[in-house]
Symmetry: C2
Subunit: 165 residues, 2 copies
Amino acid sequence: MKRKPSTEATAAWIRLMRVQSRVLDCVEQDLKRAGFPPLAWYDALLELSRAPSGELRPVELERQMLIPQYSTSRLIDRLVDEGLASRRECKIDKRGQFVEITEAGRELQKRMWSAYSAAIEKYVGSKLSDADAVKLSDLLDRLGCSCGEMKLPPVANVNESTPSR
Amino acid sequence: MKRKPSTEATAAWIRLMRVQSRVLDCVEQDLKRAGFPPLAWYDALLELSRAPSGELRPVELERQMLIPQYSTSRLIDRLVDEGLASRRECKIDKRGQFVEITEAGRELQKRMWSAYSAAIEKYVGSKLSDADAVKLSDLLDRLGCSCGEMKLPPVANVNESTPSR
DNA sequence: TCAAGATTGATGCAGCTGCATCAAATGGGG
DNA sequence: CCCCATTTGATGCAGCTGCATCAATCTTGA
């Protein structure tokens, strides 16, 4: 029960952990310095703004963002507190609800993307050619695809970009 | 002030965030299921066990692990509470102290490496050839090196492996 | 020598995460 | 039709993180 990873694999693992934290930290710091909330807020606002009518069930948001249920619930709380989204009751399923992005939410999402995209360019885009970026994506995809052979365990805060241009 | 990252760079960024969280989560879960503490503990124990006499100044540990000062301080608290390390006063600098790994600490580090290395193999090693692992490391290194042009800001929980084989 | 500044480490507070659990509503089988 | 399992969402609690700050000690320079 004690397989030994090659030193190459171990090195890749360490790089993956270190580099991701560093880069994420840099991007988050840039956003914070620009006066913006955490990336998770952006992710949620983006998903909401993309939804057909600007609203989603919390469950949908949860699945899109790959974060646990309680995390979604509280993130929505904060967005609502800040007037970036609002809760609407769901008439066809009284357990559920809809979360709708507000105008302020849409605006914030757009303003954040401006800073966010600049950060991506600064910390990723400018360091890699497009070809290398593709290669990196491919290698990472091979790790990610079936990492959990389970039923999608809680994972993480991530982002989706809008072409935005 | 609004540079646009290429779609390739953006895709790579997203993969980096998503895959890292998924893989880290998988590894942490495996360790937890085996009854072990978080990876950060392992990292600290490894650094201590590697130190010439099994002891380090908290400041050294902090620099090795790339985590903020207060985080180091509290991590040491927990290790000491669990009998995995002990604090010794530093005679030459009364502000400071030494943290020394205990036998229990050394043992735990070794037992954790067994589970940890198996997880690395399971979630990384088995998915990539050695050549691909090297390529991945290289691409990641290009992102990491100068991410912070500042003075090493607080970064993250990461690990160092011992060949251990 | 002594005061100002730097270094080392701890800690109070607020916010976020994970875990477990709860309540309400739905849906399906007998 | 009713009971029970499932789905949906909220929440109390503990632990961890980041931030700001503090106290103690060391170092430097006038």
